[in-house]
Symmetry: C2
Subunit: 246 residues, 2 copies
């Protein structure tokens, strides 16, 4: 997006954003510049610009001479965001089918297969010893590990496809879209992902990947859109469970 930007401000924005996502600053919190400045041990100036960026991203809202407050996304917000995201990622997949290089494709395939295999074996372990799945720390730990790895893998999958679209503006826009409060929900709902959901997602990724390998833009697009909208439903459902009052 802005690779040559002054680093400090971006970093501060990211750190504040992370704190918002992790729940350190829950929605409605008044983010006072002075306190943030003390917390991060910098002066108010870069904090102020960081808040300005967060406001531009729609994560906080700044009134005239009032503290910035953390916005809480409604499920409608999430839904709207995913609708846009589905469209853009669909376009990315469509273009990618045209432009992705064979090495990229192979990398994607091997990473995907490896992960799918890992999930399969993990699932086999769980079903073969159901009690161990909850009791045995090593198995539950490996499930934790798989969850973390899953996030990483999923992000790389989408990023690779996006970047192979050969449209830098699309990459930028999609990053903007995804870096908003989207991530908070993605992260929080990822922990709640059950094995069925993971397998569904893997199957969808498989479809997308195959379409890319077959170099079929329309197919890739449809598969991707379906995938994102499916994720959208899941995320919105778990979001509604998480915050039924707002």
């Amino acid at each position: 997006m802005t690779p040559d930007a002054p680093k400090l401000i971006e970093e501060l924005a990211d750190r504040i954003h992370s704190k918002i996502l992790s729940g350190d600053y829950p929605p409605g919190t008044r983010l006072k510049q002075e306190l943030l400045a003390q917390e991060f041990d910098v002066s108010r100036t870069p904090i102020r610009e960081a808040l300005s960026r967060l406001e531009a991203k729609g994560i906080v809202s700044q009134a005239q001479r009032r503290s910035a407050v953390v916005k809480s996304p409604s499920s409608r917000d999430i839904s709207e965001m995913y609708q846009v995201r589905a469209e853009l990622e669909g376009l990315a997949a469509q273009l990618s089918a045209r432009w992705i290089t064979d090495p990229q494709l192979e990398e994607l395939r091997s990473a995907h297969d490896a992960f799918a295999e890992a999930v399969r074996s993990l699932r086999a372990a769980r079903t073969s010893d159901v009690h161990a799945a909850t009791a045995n720390p090593s198995v539950s730990a490996s499930f934790e590990e798989a969850s973390r790895q899953w996030l990483e893998m999923n992000a790389r999958f989408h990023r690779t496809i996006c970047e192979s679209s050969n449209n830098r503006f699309l990459v930028r826009t999609l990053q903007d879209v995804t870096s908003g409060y989207a991530r908070s929900v993605m992260l929080s709902s990822a922990t709640g992902m059950n094995s069925y959901r993971i397998e569904t997602t893997i199957a969808q990724h498989e479809r997308i990947l195959r379409a890319l390998e077959e170099r079929e833009p329309g197919k890739a697009r449809r598969a991707m859109i379906e995938h994102i909208l499916g994720a959208s439903e899941f995320v919105i459902a778990s979001f509604a469970n998480l915050e039924p009052q707002s």
Copy 2:
């Protein structure tokens, strides 16, 4: 000193942006904060934040400790941007077919018809007296006027459809996309629009409008995408003529 405006920064960003678009600061210009501060009679602080916002929008690029420089979009940039825009506006049209209210639709229709009529009569005047078109100041003035009006009308057309998509996030994203250096090209190429191009556009608008009236999302979407991509080709062509070296 001037605490009257809560968005002095936004205003400065807009004014600088305008100056860039109008050619006062051609691509490659080094925008020195001190000079800008003198020019707009404010201190460097708000200028800095305004530049920061312009950078976030991709209009200028700022390196560490270096002056911000005005970016010059390549025709590839334009093309990429229009590809994304086509997608998003297509989605907007699709959603709009579902959500647009009858009053909005009627307003759109009357504005469109009135303008189409104006263009038709103007064209009749021009073809009936070809020499007058270039010589007679009143006719050429009215053509100028029509051009200006055209921009206004076109913007309203797209904005109305976008806003009737019932997806606020889409509206925001599309605004971000469109407010970048997109506008510079749109504006500059609008003056070069010949009557054939205008009529083509009007016909495309007509198709979109009819699809909305028929409440056919798919049709509206396709018509809109075709329209934007058509505009894209025209804009890129006139851009290539305008700046053959970059």
